[in-house]
């Protein structure tokens, strides 16, 4: 896996976060307590001289791991985050698609509407999944949260001036250029707190965090970040392999994205 220059990545992300705040009057960020969205918050603290100027949303299905809740409360206090917890109800059918896709999206839609957010910062990365190679830094979603990927604005020369109509919103992707290994490298260099679920216990760890129902563990003895990075250097599998969703159909991901799940 390819390591990139952290300070260039960080400068770019700072610029994008400031663009988001300057262009949209009601911005929020999604925070899953995973490594990516936590790294994004660390960058945001640098972009805005320690005080993050937008609320962070946790979509809480009530069954996340206890470690995740503890981690959330600890960091909220430490970084003085304006946390919004959006409750998502688990429906009967718990297979990947209907669980994450519909429940989380419903909860997100509800909170966005209630609070009138017109821009949402989402910490996806281009290397996560084939379909994400098509993403833009600022990407429009219509009122049903649909992504019209065939008809996207050219983001030529830092031109992010997307016009957002009533009911639509913009997704801002400040970490789009980062690779999985860069996030770990940054987390280590900046001493960012890490959700303990990423570290190995009894020979297994989580490489990517969804909820308890659709995330499974990978075999690993990595107990700290350097060991995780060493593991990634030789890995030939993809990061989201531990998630049930990907094992379904080839194109389920593009459908989830079209539905508004990130």
């Amino acid at each position: 896996m390819i390591k990139q220059n952290l300070s260039l990545l960080e400068e770019r992300s700072i610029f994008l976060l400031r663009e988001a705040v300057s262009r949209f009057d009601n911005v929020a960020a999604l925070w899953s307590m995973g490594k990516d969205s936590t790294a994004m918050l660390a960058v945001a603290r640098k972009a805005f001289v320690s005080k993050i100027p937008f609320p962070v949303i946790h979509i809480d299905n009530g069954i996340d791991f206890p470690e995740t809740y503890e981690f959330r409360d600890l960091l909220t206090k430490k970084w003085k985050l304006d946390l919004i917890v959006a409750e998502s109800k688990i429906k009967k059918e718990l297979s990947g698609f209907s669980c994450c896709g519909s429940n989380k999206t419903e909860a997100l839609k509800k909170i966005m509407k209630e609070q009138g957010f017109n821009a949402l910062i989402v910490s996806i990365r281009r290397d996560e999944h084939g379909i994400r190679s098509k993403e833009r830094y600022v990407s429009k979603r219509n009122k049903d949260f649909k992504w019209d990927y065939k008809n996207q604005k050219a983001e030529l020369w830092d031109d992010y001036s997307s016009k957002i109509e009533e009911g639509e919103h913009a997704r801002i992707h400040p970490l789009l250029d980062w690779n999985e290994i860069d996030v770990w490298n940054y987390t280590q260099a900046e001493k960012i707190p890490v959700n303990p679920l990423y570290f190995s216990r009894n020979g297994f760890r989580y490489r990517s965090l969804g909820c308890t129902h659709c995330t499974s563990m990978i075999k690993s003895n990595a107990k700290n970040i350097p060991q995780i990075m060493a593991e990634l250097k030789v890995s030939t599998t993809e990061e989201r392999q531990g998630r049930d969703q990907d094992k379904e159909k080839d194109y389920v991901m593009s459908k989830l994205r079209a539905l508004g799940y990130m």
Binding site: I2, K3, Q4, N5, E10, E11, I14, F15, R18, E19, V21, S22, R23, R45, K46, A47, F48, V49, S50, R126, G130, I131, S133, K134, Y149, K150, Q152, K153, A154, E155, L156, W157, D158, D159, Y160, S161, T236, T237, E238, Q241, D250, Y251, S254
Partner: protein
Amino acid sequence: MISNRVTLLGHKDHGKSTLIGSMLIVTKSVSSERLEKAKSISSKLGKIFEPGFIIDSFEEEHEGGLTIDTSRASLVFNGNFIEFIDVPGHEELIGNMITGASYGDTALIIISALRNEGITEQTKRHVLIAKMLDIKNLIVAVNKMDLISYDEKTFNKIKNEFKTYLDRIGWTWCTFVPISAYKMENLISRSGKIPWYEGECLITTILNAPKSKVSQSKKLSIILQGNLDNNTILGKILSGSIHINDKLLILPYMKNCKIENIFVKNKSSKIARKGINVAIRVNPPIGVTRGNVASTKNSNLHTVKAFDSLVFPIRNQRGDISININGTISKSLIAPKALIDKYGGLKDSKVLKSLSVSFATVRVQDVVVIERSIPELSRFTMYDSKGFLGIGVIK
């Protein structure tokens, strides 16, 4: 690590996706899952194996057999990082193509050696755009050599014909490499099938291309994004550097202030240079918006309401348009003067002709800040009621 960004250009079906897919395979930069997936999709569609399917990941792309949007793929070869940017090669999507091309330092244009493919209008148009986007290096890969028995004569014919065109439009650095993307010949080592070829293989040619130079202007320019609070402004330094106690001039409104403190990331700093996103505490307090530029009195950046430029529209258009320059949209009136014809000559013209380069005067409703020696302050995008209209470079 030195980074090399290569934009792939060329007529649809001449082999861009195949080349990226093959490059990923021969440098072992693709996950086993992605490779398996590409194989299974190939067989589902009744094909032997299409390396191009490694990067085209949308359903529609496999079925329709064409790339609809920019894709990126990275690889490491002997410790060098190379990022390929694949852009759509068909006419309706030239807007996407322009975006993709603007990311690269080097452009790699693919020309199929097949008799019925070869150099097309689109091939020429793509290099013209790359020229406008200020890409310095051009590598021409003559592809599908396997289908013409690696014939030297055909390669030379394409090379001479295309070189004549490149000379006319003024490319200074270009090199020609014969390859077979599909059979993976001459990609990462010299191919035994092409003994008559004396140059380097494709990847060595890419790594040897001169590195692009960044703006060397010493004038101070900071594009501003807004205020953090009354006293603190946020922005990115495009050129020059700032120190505590320096005086700033905020354009276009010509307001003066003094730097009291500089924050680089979370920390207070005495100095900040080009490329850094800064927060600057100023006195007196100043309210800024996106599109404002901070500079100094002696830097002499221009605030103008009209300028001459080279433009490339993707539709026929005249009169009222909007331009986005330095992150702000301004209503504008565009008056074309002349057109650059396909041989590189000038022809009088009063309309902006679709997919051609024109000279034009642009009049903006509000004043804008421009500076020809700083790329970010001398280029713009154009829009009309239908959306993205094209690009322009201030001359």
